[in-house]
Symmetry: C2
DNA sequence: AATGTTATTCTCATACTGAGATTGTCTCAG
DNA sequence: CTGAGACAATCTCAGTATGAGAATAACATT
C-alpha cells in the first residue's frame, strides 16, 4: 500500500473526537493599570461567568489566524492587524477542563496599546477590559491561562522590545517606564531606566521631536522616541530580583 | 435551560473533527554531541521517514501524561520518571500539516542524561539517537518542531539549572561546562565558567568528594558536585552575544 | 513670582564579565 | 623514573553594567 492508497482508505473517525479551541489573553494598559479583555459568556456551559475570548477552530483555519479571528469577532475590535502583537502561549488539555467533551485549548497572548472599549460580538453577552489585579471568577481554567499569560508578558518585557507594543507610535521614555512599572507592578528608578533604555542598541530611536507641552503637573517637554529595529534587548532589562522565585 | 440540561442535550459531533497528537523532542548528550531521539515511521503516511516520537492522545489522558507515555512506548525506554525533565514546548496546527486529516500537535521537550539505546516499540520500525547537526529528512513539520525545541533548550540553559539534568547524579564543573558547550555549540572560558557556576546561589552544591582519578589525558582530580535547589539562575549565565539574532 | 513636578544628566560605589596568566596535580610516553 | 603536556582551580586586571542618590533645568499650577 503506497501513501495515496493509504490516504484514500483512511477514516478519521477511528480516532477519538477532540475539540480544539483557541483562547486569547489580550492585554492592554488602561486607566493606569494592566487590563485583560474578558467576555461574559452568553451560552452554556458557565453562562454568565467571565471568560477569555476564544472558541473552536474552523476547518482550514490556521491557529494564529483563529486566535486573531476570535479576538476580532467576539469583541468587535477589528483591523487589529498592525497594532497588535500576538504570539502562542501554551496549550491546555486536562481531560475534564470542559464539561461538554474533551477540549484542548491553544492559548495566545496579545498585546496592544490603549484600545477603545470593545463591543460585544455574537457569542458574547458583554465584553470589557478588566484590571488584572481585580478579577471576577473566570470560566473553565481560564484563571490559570491568564496567570500564565501575565507571567509570560512580564518575562518578555525583560529581553524583547515588547513594551513598545503597549505604547503608541511615538512615546517618551517616561511613558515606556510607565509600561514597565504597570506590567511588572514595581516602581523603577527613573534615572537608571533612562540611561538603560538609551544604551540598549536598537530599542528606541529618537524622532527629534518633543511633547507639545510639559506634563500636567509640570516638568520640561520630553523627547519623543519610536520603536527601534532590535528584536532582542541586549543586555536585557532585568526585573529586580525576586528571591522567592529563585528557589 | 440550566447547565446540566444543556449538557445532556449536547452533541459533540456538531464540531469539526480534529485529531490531537503529542510529539516529543527528547534530547540527550551522547558521543560528545547533542542528540535527539527519532523513530523511523513504520506506517503511512511518511512511512520510512524519521520522525519525533509521538502519537494521538487517548481519552481521559492528560497532555504531559500522553507525552511521557509516547516517549516510553515508542522507544522502550521506561521508568523515565525520575531522570527525565519534560515540559511543554508549543503547538502546531497548520491545516495541511498531516495529509490524513486536521491534526493539531502539542509538542513536548524532554531532557535526559546519557541514556541507553532505545529499542523500537510497536509503531516504530526503528528508534535511535541522532546528532542534531546531522539530521535525516524528517516527516511532517518535525524539522520545525525540532528547531524550536533546540532553541528552547539553549535558552533554558541560560536561566535555569537545566544543564544539570543532562549530567549524572554527581558531576564536575568541567562536565557541566561540557554540557553548555555541547548544547550551545560554542567553547567557553574554563576559568570564568568555574567562577560563575560557584557564584550562582543554589546552582550546584559540593559533595565533598573528588573524581577517582584525573582526566584520561592528565590533570588533577576534580571536585564533584550535585544539583542544588535553585530553580532559576540569578544572575543568569548568558550565551555569548549573537549579534545576528538581536536585529 | 514661588513652589512643586518631572525629564535628563552625573557621580560614585559596587557587581559582573571577558581575557589571560598562574599554580599545582595528574597521566602518559619515553 | 622523569619530563612533557593536560587540566582543575584560583587570581589579576581592565572594561562594562547596575543601584542609589543628587544636580540641573524646563515646565505647570497657585
Amino acid at each position: 500500500m503506497n501513501e495515496s492508497e493509504f490516504l484514500a482508505g483512511y477514516d478519521p473517525r477511528m480516532y477519538p473526537a477532540v475539540a480544539v479551541t483557541v483562547d486569547v489573553v489580550a492585554l492592554t494598559i488602561r486607566g493606569g493599570g494592566l487590563r485583560v479583555l474578558l467576555i461574559r459568556r452568553g451560552e452554556q456551559p458557565h453562562a454568565g461567568l467571565w471568560a477569555l475570548p476564544g472558541g473552536f477552530i474552523r476547518p482550514g483555519e490556521d491557529l494564529p489566524q483563529a486566535a486573531a479571528r476570535e479576538l476580532a469577532e467576539e469583541t468587535g475590535l477589528s483591523g487589529l492587524g498592525d497594532r497588535v502583537h500576538i504570539e502562542q502561549l501554551a496549550s491546555y488539555g486536562t481531560p475534564d477542563r470542559d464539561p461538554r467533551m474533551r477540549v484542548v485549548s491553544i492559548s495566545y497572548l496579545a498585546f496592544a496599546p490603549d484600545l477603545p472599549d470593545p463591543r460585544a460580538g455574537t457569542d458574547a453577552a458583554d465584553a470589557a477590559w478588566h484590571p488584572v489585579d481585580k478579577l471576577p471568577e473566570l470560566a473553565f481554567d481560564h484563571d490559570r491561562i491568564l496567570a500564565h499569560g501575565l507571567e509570560r508578558a512580564r518575562g518578555k518585557l525583560e529581553y524583547t522590545p515588547l513594551a513598545t507594543a503597549f505604547a503608541g507610535e511615538t512615546f517618551t521614555i517616561s511613558e515606556l517606564r510607565g509600561v514597565y512599572e504597570t506590567v511588572w507592578g514595581v516602581p523603577l528608578h527613573a534615572g537608571n531606566f533612562h540611561r538603560k533604555i538609551l544604551s540598549v542598541p536598537g530599542f528606541v530611536e529618537s524622532t527629534g521631536e518633543t511633547t507639545e507641552s510639559g506634563g500636567v503637573r509640570g516638568g520640561p517637554r520630553a523627547k519623543l522616541y519610536r520603536a527601534g529595529d532590535a528584536r532582542l534587548l541586549h543586555p536585557a532589562l532585568l526585573r529586580p530580583a525576586r528571591e522567592e522565585q529563585i528557589r
